[in-house]
């Protein structure tokens, strides 16, 4: 398995401009190469064009649910993208579904940039594979 590194391309998908810019700056300062998308459709297009090493994905996008983005990625085949889902007041059911679809972490908004960076770094170095497509996740 190939490890993602600090120089990795990270796709940030979020319609909240403050959160988007904050993450973009914080990731850039520590050496990542962030790209940004503010809609699910744009994110899908960017993923088709250049698959990122990891993705920070808001679940509540203006044009579709973040879960639909994960479903489309999984349906498209290819290597899974290490994904951290973010959002306000995320329902446990949505977290469970996101993990089933391959998400590795979930951070509730509002968050601190330091917290996201720390968890992103851990997510990128973790070697455990995401759940298989047929796995059912149970939150305890």
């Amino acid at each position: 398995m190939q490890f993602a590194t600090r120089s990795s391309n990270i796709l940030i998908v979020d319609s909240d401009r403050a959160s988007l810019e904050m993450l973009q700056i914080r990731l850039t300062v520590v050496g990542y190469h962030p790209s940004i998308a503010r809609t699910g459709a744009t994110a899908m297009e960017m993923i088709r064009h250049a698959r990122p090493a990891a993705m920070i994905l808001e679940l509540n996008l203006p044009d579709m649910c973040g879960l639909e983005v994960l479903e489309a990625i999984r349906a498209g085949g290819g290597a899974p993208i290490r994904t951290m889902v973010i959002g306000k007041r995320i329902a446990p059911e949505a977290i469970r579904r996101a993990i089933e679809l391959g998400a590795r972490d979930c951070v509730a908004k509002p968050f601190s940039g330091a917290e996201v960076l720390d968890r992103l770094s851990r997510m990128l170095t973790r070697t455990a594979p995401p759940p298989a497509a047929s796995s059912r996740v149970v939150l305890v």
């Binding site: 319609s15 909240d16 401009r17 403050a18 959160s19 810019e21 904050m22 973009q24 700056i25 914080r26 850039t28 300062v29 190469h33 962030p34 790209s35 940004i36 998308a37 503010r38 809609t39 744009t42 994110a43 960017m46 203006p62 306000k88 908004k109 509002p110 601190s112 940039g113 330091a114």
Partner: protein, 130 residues
Amino acid sequence: MVVATDDEAQSALTPGVSTTFEVLAGEIELAGARCIFLDSLIGELMDLVPDDQRGRFVEGLHAVDLLAQHLTGLSAFARRIGANASDDVSTAAEEALRDITLGDLADRMTGALGGQDRFAEVTAGDVDLF
């Protein structure tokens, strides 16, 4: 005294206290991130500065670092207040937003508080920080 019409009253931006503090926390966090960016930039410049000038840059670096910590603390404070507050009580955000003279900030906050963000249509791009 100004009396709002029904239409005006319905369109007034009056988000809950919790939402207002969350949006405020997000904006302070962004300001903090900009300070961290500035901090890293000054750090890079240090190598190019003559020895006799370096003291001034170190002072500037400390000031920016302190500002970043200041903003990080305020953001955490606002975030915590927001998490423990209710949205049952609303804030007069629309009126308060008129005091923000930086257009982009006012628009962004208006959007986050439930109003219309005039720049919401810009969808994607590569890194373009400022």
